[in-house]
Amino acid sequence: MIDLTTDYLGLTLKNPLVPSSSPLCKQLDTVLRLEDAGAAAIVLHSFYEEELIAEDAMAERFLLHAELHDGESAGFMPDHGKYESSIDQYLDHLRKVKARLSIPVIASLNGVTPSGWIDLGQEMQAAGADALELNVYHVAANPAESGDDVEARYLALLTELKQVVSVPIIMKLPPFFSSLPHFVRRLEVSGANGVSLFNRFFQPDIDLDGLEMVEQLQLSTREEALLRIRWIAILRGQTPMTLAATGGVYGHEEALKLLLAGADVVHLASCLLEHGPARLSQILEAIEAWMVEREYESLAQLKGSMCLNKLRDPSALARQSYIRVLDSFTPRPGVWR
């Protein structure tokens, strides 16, 4: 029996496969099925503070203060006291999931205001979250905001939250940092317990008929795993923090590669959405089979064995490799000649 245990934010997980924040985590039933399929922990769907703000605006305008009319009506929606804020519903769900699951449950929080992070983070801890994932979703579009400002924003949020919660915090980051290792070190110094690489920004698209920006949910692709492999490999060995890989894992191959690069856990979302919970056990079995075939005894042996520090040729992870790949590219006949 291979020892697949891994350390994640100080929690010992039975294996490295952790379903991440996705709509699957919204239903108790699907969460239970994921646990049955072998999930080592669950990151609940992200609670978006932006959504809460929009919902509050809706509630206030149409429910709480719907004075939109004349003397005949003071509002249109019935208020029977059953209306619950989505944060209450989230916390309720968290409590239920926590009560039913034996694996750790991580709450995921996406905030836009400092107060939002602090309040919601505390409430999530109180509701039983074993750890908090801060899904920082900031698109730096303001020319007055420097790279340092952007980093400072993350650090401030982390520092403030660390002061009020005791559970571990993992920062889910985008890939858009000038020097990711430097920034990760700053996070570590500020008290982060791990980083999760990388969150995926929703990419607005242009509708050519209506000439307007449209939003659509795009599932990740296998190719996206490559970006994670590189950066996890670079970071492993340079930080003692938990490294979680998220995005692009469809099968055991990507999972293994990420683990080899140094990930402590591998998150699954798109593949589970597409193929159901069975995919998790299939990946787990395939990982195990691969390790058996190569006579690994434990995940600990494998984890990070191909990180930057351990590569014979570290330049494989640096820029030159791109040039070599490009050089080696041979177009199809008839394309150029």
Binding site: A59, E60, H69, D70, S73, D79, K82, Y83
Partner: protein, 1193 residues
């Protein structure tokens, strides 16, 4: 322990009604709707009745339906109740006779309201309950919010004991909507008042197959009369039963009532007898006059039916020499109103019996439709009683310069009670939260102090930019002032909207030395100079303290957007001195927590922060050294437009300014008939931004005009030379279409002072600047800098010569939108989804339209005085409009058709008879004219003109007769317009009947999928999964497919339309419907603010509704079948998005996920199935007829 409640009369009555009921059958009608809503809310919360069971609340299709359901429930053993008013009560009447005839105990709670006569009114008087006095029901009046609660319980106890059904009533709005601090009746008291043996007796009388009986027989002359007399003992006994219940209630609560309560001097010589809230004002005035040694008194009539004459006589002091009986109703043609006549009868009988001498009795009408009734008026009535020859019949509260019945009164009279109280007046907008903040303040004062509190809220009838004036009173003893805060009495006046300073006389209510709080963007040191001169003078003259706050900035900074209610409430407590400041702030915060509770901690926190920063931003303006410039403190109303006709200047505009109360009787038309086209004089300037036309980009597509709910953006074609003297900023460009004569120019012009700033035109604009996608052919810009220039431009635009309609392509959007609208600037909500359909109909057919309009939003914004958005064209023609009732609109419209057809036939008959006189060709052409299309109508109008010329010169004995009928030779386009509440529910029977006939009527159903006007109650048009009042858990059944049902007749033209999805389709449907020579039904999707979505997105929502299959588009045209084709044409493509996408986008669906998450998921799935099923059904019908080649005609 005494529990105090701060609530309104509706809630007070509903609390008692709920506890004593098992079945509650309801239907919304103002001002009683809230009682049903409370019952529904409590049931949804699982609140039990007295017996631990949650009552069944059932919304019916009309009050007639509610009455029937209630009758059935009662006769089958349940305890039941209902709530209604006005026309609703009239619909109850047939069943009231039945229920009383069968001695069925129950209480009907009525917020008494005026009946529609020459006009509809939503306001309070006793016309409705007086119409029920022969039904056999007892009539029990409550005079205050406290009594609305107490009498509701007394009535319930009495009806069970005496088996006579009771109509328990209180004054609509004045009591139903007044918020007051009352002593609660505890559940134990209710328990002690309701005798379960009587409940068991009621159940024992229930229809049951276990011990069957027969009820509701038909009887013949032999026994009917005797049967009718058989119940007499029950009526004889009932007054004593009510008194017993009152006595028992007194024992339990300490509040003692009599059938007729007397207050005043024991040896009063002059006495007023009155029922309802006015009794409170009279009592307050009697107290004042008695304190000055006057021998006056009041009899409060509580039980009006059955009338206990002996008790009444007992209540009137023997010393009374002169009695005035005041009726809050009018019985035209009678020599006195009902209460007066009953009192006279009782006294006359006593005099005839020799048991007392006959005093002088006079009768007066007052307070119709919530007309103010003040202590000054009461004093005038007492003064009249002291006259040597008092008027036997009089009115009070108006100036009657026609029949001279009215009493003069001293407007400056103030009672002692009024002088003891603290008064506050707040001016706000319907949407700014002023009213809810004030209700909250009353609760705070009521709950945290021993003070009594009262709040009454006056709204105007606009649905956009509605002005609210809140009248608050606080006092040490109970507040009996059932009238508005009087001028010069308010120690605190607040103006929550800066624009009001120019529009209204805000200082009229202010007491000398009082506080005036102004929300203004101006800084404290700059505000004085910006105030109108009269206001500055008024502040100085009254020695007011002026405080200012920029509440919108504070709100914005605190993250509250534009919500200023909490901020202004904080200001009120900070400077009014009603409560110690810290105590008040703590109480406001507590109230905030209660409001937001579980709903949003975040919002609660934001409000807390706003409260904290408010005080730092509230400043007193030091008035020392500031001058009033010697101006007059008399309020100067905005200037009257120079072109206003006399009736507008003398009637319409004073009403706009809030001076309607001072208009005398002679200013009124005798029969409620008014000139149209007055909305254009209102110039409300409520849009913060208005559209600006970019003539260089515009393709002249007309879409902005098509979607405008207020006809505030217009297009016109004209010869270029007509614009030679145009204002310099007037934009016009050559017409792009080749269809116009050379040299034709086109202008798209906004009416800057009439636009509500909804932005729908910008949303509809399909044209982008190719280099900057956000610049469209119309873009919103702030009103202020544009107002003056655009006002001149719009004036010029209106004076452009009329373009020949026959040169315009009415079947295209660009062409049709160059037709002048004859419906403009209504008071509908900004972004209203209904009004574009009405405007479209008037553009196409307005000069020949007769409109029958069902009661509802469309009748309110269509004809709530003084606004009349229906208007006329250059020839003086336009829609002629009327509203009959809510329930009979289809029949009303049919009547218009019948009259038109009948008079046309008569005119044709005369034409034929006089053919020789008129000229054979003209006569033949007049009779045989094809008038289906506009060209034919135009030709007929010319023939009619020729006919009239000939008739003028004719000596034929019937020439005058034909001349008077000639206008009927032109075909009229009859439009029957109403909402879904009418078409799907209360008026469906009539609508169905009209559809089943073959008459040429056009029925336009403005389907908002909910009762919009009365506040969002469920109708049968409400879609599955939507949350509405009475469907708090989401509607579980599908929407009725009215269009498909109608199309089953085969001869009816039917179309479902949604202009925001397919405007051309809508245009086509209107043309097809109007030209169809039989009944036509257009079911028009009308987004409404009740859907819980910003009306900026009106068109987007329509588009989504169609694309997701929520609102499939189809047309059914019987003419196509006659031509051999498939009359059913499915006009929308198969859904491309899930119904969930649509449901997620509107609060009415989305909030279900917050309140009932499991049901939400289930209903979304069900809604998808239903949408799929409906679309598939349509596809099958569309495919059912093999397309046949159209017959050659």
């Amino acid at each position: 322990m005494t529990t105090y409640l701060n609530l309104d009369g509706n809630e007070a009555a509903a609390r008692m009604a709920y506890l004593g009921s098992e079945v509650v059958a309801i239907y919304p009608i103002t001002p009683s709707s809230n009682m049903g809503e409370w019952a529904d809310e409590w049931a949804a919360q699982g609140k039990p009745n007295l017996w631990g069971v949650v009552p069944k609340i059932i919304e019916m299709q009309s009050e007639g339906g509610a009455a029937g359901a209630l009758h059935g429930a009662l006769t089958s053993g349940a305890l039941g109740t209902s709530f209604t008013a006005s026309q609703g009560l009239l619909l109850f009447i047939p069943n009231l006779y039945k229920m009383a005839g069968e001695l069925t105990p129950f209480v009907l709670h009525v917020a008494a309201r005026a009946l529609a006569t020459h006009a509809l009114s939503i306001f309070g008087d006793h016309s409705d309950v007086m119409a029920c006095r022969a039904t056999g029901c007892a009539l029990l009046a409550s005079n205050s919010v406290q009594e609305a609660q107490d009498m509701a319980l007394i009535a319930q106890a009495a009806t069970l004991a005496g088996r006579i059904p009771v109509i328990h009533f209180f004054d609509g709005f004045r009591t139903s909507h007044e918020v007051a601090k009352i002593v609660a009746v505890e559940t134990e008291t209710v328990r002690a008042m309701i005798d379960d043996t009587l409940v068991a007796a009621h159940r024992a009388r229930a229809l049951s197959p276990e011990h069957p009986v027969l009820r509701g027989t038909a009887q013949n002359p032999d026994v009917f009369f005797q049967s009718r007399e058989r119940a007499n003992p029950f009526y004889d006994a009932f007054p004593a039963i009510v008194q017993t219940a009152m006595d028992r209630f007194g024992e339990l609560t300490g509040r003692h009532y009599r059938l007729f309560d007397y207050v005043g001097a024991p040896d009063a010589e002059r006495v007023i007898v009155v029922m309802g809230s006015a009794a409170e004002t009279v009592e307050e005035t009697v107290e004042h006059l008695v304190a000055r040694g006057e021998k006056v008194g009041l009899v409060k009539m509580r039980l009006f039916r059955p009338l206990a004459s002996a008790a009444l006589l007992e209540a009137i002091p023997a010393t009374a020499r002169a009695i005035a009986v005041l009726d809050r109703c009018k019985e035209p043609g009678s020599e006195g109103e009902p209460l007066y006549k009953d009192v006279v009868t009782a006294l006359a009988e006593a005099a005839a019996d020799g048991t007392r001498s006959m005093p002088r009795v006079i009768g007066g009408r007052f307070g119709l439709a919530s007309k103010e009734f003040t202590p000054g008026m009461v004093a005038a009535v007492f003064a009249q009683l002291a006259a040597a020859q008092p008027r036997r019949q009089f009115t009070v509260g108006i100036v009657d310069d026609v029949t001279h019945l009215s009493l003069a009164w001293d407007a400056a009279f103030r009672s002692d009670a009024s002088r003891r109280q603290q008064h506050a007046v707040f001016w706000g907008l319907g949407a700014d939260g002023t009213v809810s903040a004030n209700k909250n303040s009353i609760k705070i004062v009521g709950e945290s102090t021993g003070l009594q509190a009262q709040g009454y809220f006056v709204y105007d009838s606009k649905k956009s930019g509605a002005v609210t004036v809140s009248h608050l009173r606080f006092g040490d003893s109970s507040i009996r002032s059932s009238y508005l805060v009087e001028e010069g009495m308010a120690g605190f006046v607040a103006c929550h909207q800066p624009v009001f300073v120019e529009r209204y006389d805000l200082l009229a209510h202010a007491a000398p030395g009082g506080v005036f709080l102004l929300n203004t963007p101006e800084a404290a040191d700059a505000v004085w100079a910006g105030l109108p001169a009269a206001m500055r003078a008024g502040i100085v003259a009254k020695g007011l303290k002026l405080w200012v706050i920029d509440a919108y900035k504070v709100a914005q900074d605190a993250g509250m957007g534009r919500r200023i209610n909490t901020i202004m409430q904080t200001c009120f407590f900070a400077i009014s001195g009603i409560l110690p400041r810290d105590e008040a702030i703590a109480a406001i915060k507590k109230a905030v927590d209660k409001t937001y509770g579980k709903k949003s901690k975040r919002l609660a926190d934001l409000n807390h922060r706003a409260i904290d920063v408010t005080l730092a931003n509230l400043h007193e303006v030091p008035l020392a050294g500031l001058s009033d410039d010697g101006a007059s403190p008399i309020f100067v109303a905005p200037a009257v437009p120079a072109d206003a006709p006399a009736h507008v200047r003398d009637f319409t505009l004073p009403i706009y300014r809030g001076e309607g109360n001072s208009l005398p009787v002679s200013a009124m038309p005798v029969d409620g008939t008014f000139t149209t086209g007055t909305a254009k004089f209102e110039k409300r300037n409520i849009g913060l931004e208005i559209p600006v036309w970019e003539s260089d980009l515009c393709t002249q597509c007309g879409k902005c005009v098509f979607v405008c709910p207020h006809s505030a953006i217009r297009a016109r074609a004209f010869p270029a030379e007509a614009a030679i003297e145009a204002p310099i900023t007037f934009k016009h460009v050559p017409a792009k279409s080749k269809d116009f004569p050379a040299g034709t120019h086109i202008s798209y012009q906004v009416a800057p002072e009439d636009c509500t700033g909804c932005g729908d035109c910008v949303e509809a604009c399909p044209i982008h600047d190719k280099t900057n996608i956000s610049r469209l052919a119309v873009n919103m810009a702030p009103l202020a800098p544009l107002r003056e220039a655009e006002r001149d431009n719009f004036d010029f635009f209106l004076k452009l010569p009329d373009f020949d309609r026959s040169l315009l392509k009415h079947g295209t959007i660009p062409g049709a939108m160059l037709l002048d609208p004859l419906f403009e600037f209504s008071g509908a909500c900004a972004g209203c989804g209904e009004t574009p359909y009405i405007r479209l109909a008037t553009q196409l057919f307005g000069d020949r339209m007769l409109v029958a309009n069902a009661t509802g939003c469309s009748s309110i914004y269509g004809a709530n005085l003084p606004s009349t958005p229906y208007t006329v064209n250059g020839a003086g023609r336009g829609p002629a409009w009327s509203n009959s009732l809510f329930e009979d609109n289809a029949e009303f419209g049919l009547g218009m058709r019948l009259a038109s057809d009948q008079l046309m036939s008569y005119a044709m008959q005369l034409t034929q008879e006089m053919a020789a006189e008129i000229g054979g060709d003209l006569a033949e052409a007049l009779v045989g004219a094809d008038q289906r299309q506009e060209a034919g109508i135009r030709a007929q109008r010319e023939r009619v003109a020729a006919l009239l010329q000939k008739l003028a010169a004719s000596r034929h004995p019937r020439a005058k007769e034909l001349a008077s009928l000639a206008e009927w030779l032109v075909r009229r386009s009859v439009w029957i317009i109403g909402g879904d509440g009418w078409a799907y529910d209360i008026g469906y029977g009539g609508l169905d009947h009209i559809l089943a006939l073959s008459y040429d009527v056009n029925i336009l159903v403005l389907d908002t999928e909910v009762y919009s006007n009365t506040g969002g109650q469920t109708s049968k048009a409400t879609p599955l999964g939507a949350v509405a009042k009475f469907s708090a858990g989401g509607k579980t059944t599908a929407k009725k497919d009215l269009a498909r049902i109608a199309s089953d007749y085969g001869h009816v033209y039917v179309a479902t339309v949604a202009y925001g999805a397919k405007d051309v389709h809508t245009l086509k449907a209107f043309h097809e419907a109007e030209s169809h020579a039989g009944p036509s039904l257009i079911v028009a999707y009308s987004p409404c603010i009740a859907h819980g979505v910003d009306m900026l997105y009106n068109q987007r929502q329509q588009d989504m509704a169609v694309k997701t299959g929520h609102w499939p588009l189809f047309r059914y045209d019987p003419r196509v079948e006659e031509a051999g084709g498939n009359p059913f044409r499915l006009d929308s493509a198969p859904p491309t998005q899930s119904i969930k996408a649509f449901m997620d986008s509107e609060t009415r669906f989305a909030m279900l996920a917050r309140s009932h998450p499991d049901a939400a998921e289930r209903l979304v799935a069900q809604a998808q199935k239903d949408a799929d099923r409906r679309y598939k059904g349509y596809q099958e019908i569309a495919a059912a007829h093999a397309p046949a080649a159209p017959k050659e005609s």
